[in-house]
Amino acid sequence: MTDPVIEAHGLVKRYGAVTAVDGIDLVIQRGEIFGLLGPNGAGKTTVILMLLGLTETTAGTVRVVGLDPTRKPLAVKRRVGYMPDAVGFYDNMTARENLRYTAKLAGIPRPEIEARMSVAFERVGLGAVADRRVSTFSRGMRQRLGLAEIWLKRAEIAILDEPTSGLDPQATTELLDMIRSLKADGVAVLLSSHLLERVQSVCDRVALFNRGRVALIGTVSELATTVFGGDTMIQVEAEGDAVPGVLERVAGVRRVTVEGSGTFRLFCTRDVRAEIAAALVAGGARLLRLNLLELSLEEVYARYFEEHRDAA
């Protein structure tokens, strides 16, 4: 199980007086999908560039497939595929010509290039448009062409910076399916995103970035437990003057917050929906809605930055 492909310890990056990345530790295993989350400017892209050796580290150590990316950048980049944020291609060339250029740069043996290219095009579903100019491609097609490069290189690690930004829901779903199939091929995927709901569905583990530090790291449910302290969240919509008072008196409810007019959020030690319903009806309130909240990444994220607003 423990076969780390990326290890970073105490990673620091300073631009003059500004500290972009302030002591980050990350370990990413082979065949897992790892999400880097955080607001813009939290240092996600800087971390990615340091992992690739495209930016020098100020302090700390990085090992990618066991190699130091600043000392052996060629060996590292040969085994890592990278898709930058808003990936660009040479618009006047066809998709096939673009990919062929990448293949030559990547040092793929000449006789293998064409065969590997057609495999890559098939994997991302661009086989039919491979000979069209990239200038005619939609944003989703460009992102898929970016993924095709990773298959072309047969990379062991795929680093995707904001792979789903600016895509429509359909294209996002397709792209996430492709990312899953990368994982199925045994590729470790590191992706950064702010589309939390989507990331949740595909990531095995996530790291929440804040001001150049990893604020939280783990699976989504681990993060939820950390942020919400293991509380069960229940949402109540009810009419009546006594509602807040009634809700607070129910055994098992630790805290009540007002979300909107007549809508409340309850932090409970366990699922006490039946007790709440009974108490409200007995208290003469009109119960309109009662549901258990799934702890989504979106909630964790919002909650975390609500608590650390002064810090963020």
Partner: protein, 320 residues
């Protein structure tokens, strides 16, 4: 900290792509038309001049390049004007266009060093210029053969070929300058303007500046009014004016195309040494020797500019 792996990895791929891009671009079409127009146009003025010559000239063929008379339409002044324009046109968006198309980080995430990307771009541009200049050169030779009906001697071909190489070095200077600005400025328009500015400064303004400085060195007002210059002033004028690559280019090709040129320094204004027949031609190798300091300076300037570009590019953030 040492990095491992060859800096040349991927150089061939970058070079071939850049070369192919240049050759298939619209700029190249313009370049082709320009070359033909220059070739044919200067050829006819040169031939018309040559026909008025009455004395026999052992290097008649080289007159195509220099023109028998001083004329703005003759080949050399036109070429010294056109080469920078073409080189600027090929280089001004070499690096910043990769950033603007957001392809730079993708290219650099492949197993290549930045060295290969920069050098590949420079060599791709230089190869394009070499093709254009060689085409022009061959065009002049072909037209010359047809119109003059006199085949060039072996020495004339050698001199003309050396001229071609010097012209390429001159083109390399402006290409390196254009690429430097394309590394410094992310906007292609700013880069183009700055390169044009540098070109104007060095070719148009610099001679005026030199004139001004030399004039200020005049020992007294009488000498200034009468236009009498001291030896010191002439030396300064020569030294300062050579900061312009334009002047360097002229001085480097003059001994090659005018075999009677014996010196480019102060000696130009001196009576010939005893035993020297004025106007007698030097051998080819002797002419190369006369031009050698200028040729070296031109090539050194190209290398220096490229080195500066390299350092600036290595220090750049690739966040794009």
């Amino acid at each position: 900290m040492r990095r491992e792996g060859s800096p040349w990895t991927g150089l061939g791929a970058v070079f071939l792509k850049e070369f192919a891009d240049h050759l298939s671009s619209a700029r190249m079409r313009v370049l082709e038309v320009l070359m033909v127009v220059i070739g044919v146009g200067t050829m006819y003025t040169a031939i018309a001049d040559i026909k008025t010559l009455t004395t026999s000239d052992p290097f008649l063929f080289l007159r195509i390049f220099t023109g028998a008379r001083e004329s703005t339409l003759s080949f050399l002044p036109l070429l010294s004007f056109v080469i920078p324009v073409i080189a600027l046109g090929l280089g001004f968006d070499a690096v910043n266009s990769e950033f603007n198309r957001r392809t730079m980080s993708r290219v650099l995430s492949q197993p290549v060093y930045r060295d290969a990307v920069l050098l590949g771009k420079f060599l791709g541009g230089l190869a394009t210029l070499a093709v254009s200049l060689t085409v022009l050169w061959l065009l002049l030779f072909g037209l010359g053969l047809i119109r003059l009906g006199v085949p060039p001697s072996g020495e004339e071909v050698a001199r003309a070929f050396a001229f071609l190489l010097v012209a390429l070095a001159y083109a390399g200077f402006w290409l390196a300058a254009a690429i430097l600005f394309s590394v410094i400025f992310r906007s292609a328009a700013t880069s183009a303007l700055c390169t044009l500015g540098l070109w104007l400064l060095l070719t148009v303004l610099w001679p005026r500046v030199v004139e001004f400085v030399v004039d200020a060195m005049s020992p007294n007002d009488v000498a200034r009014v009468l236009g009498i210059v001291t030896v010191e002033q002439v030396q300064w004028q020569l030294a300062l004016s050579r900061f312009s690559p334009n002047v360097l280019f002229y001085q480097a090709v003059l001994p090659l195309l005018e075999p009677s040129t014996r010196t480019l320094g102060l000696g130009m204004f001196m009576p010939p040494e005893p035993g020297v027949v004025p106007g007698a031609p030097l051998s080819f190798l002797q002419s190369v020797l006369v031009a050698w300091p200028e040729i070296t300076a031109l090539i050194a300037a190209v290398i220096a500019l490229f080195a500066v570009t390299y350092v600036v590019f290595q220090r750049q953030e690739i966040r794009a």
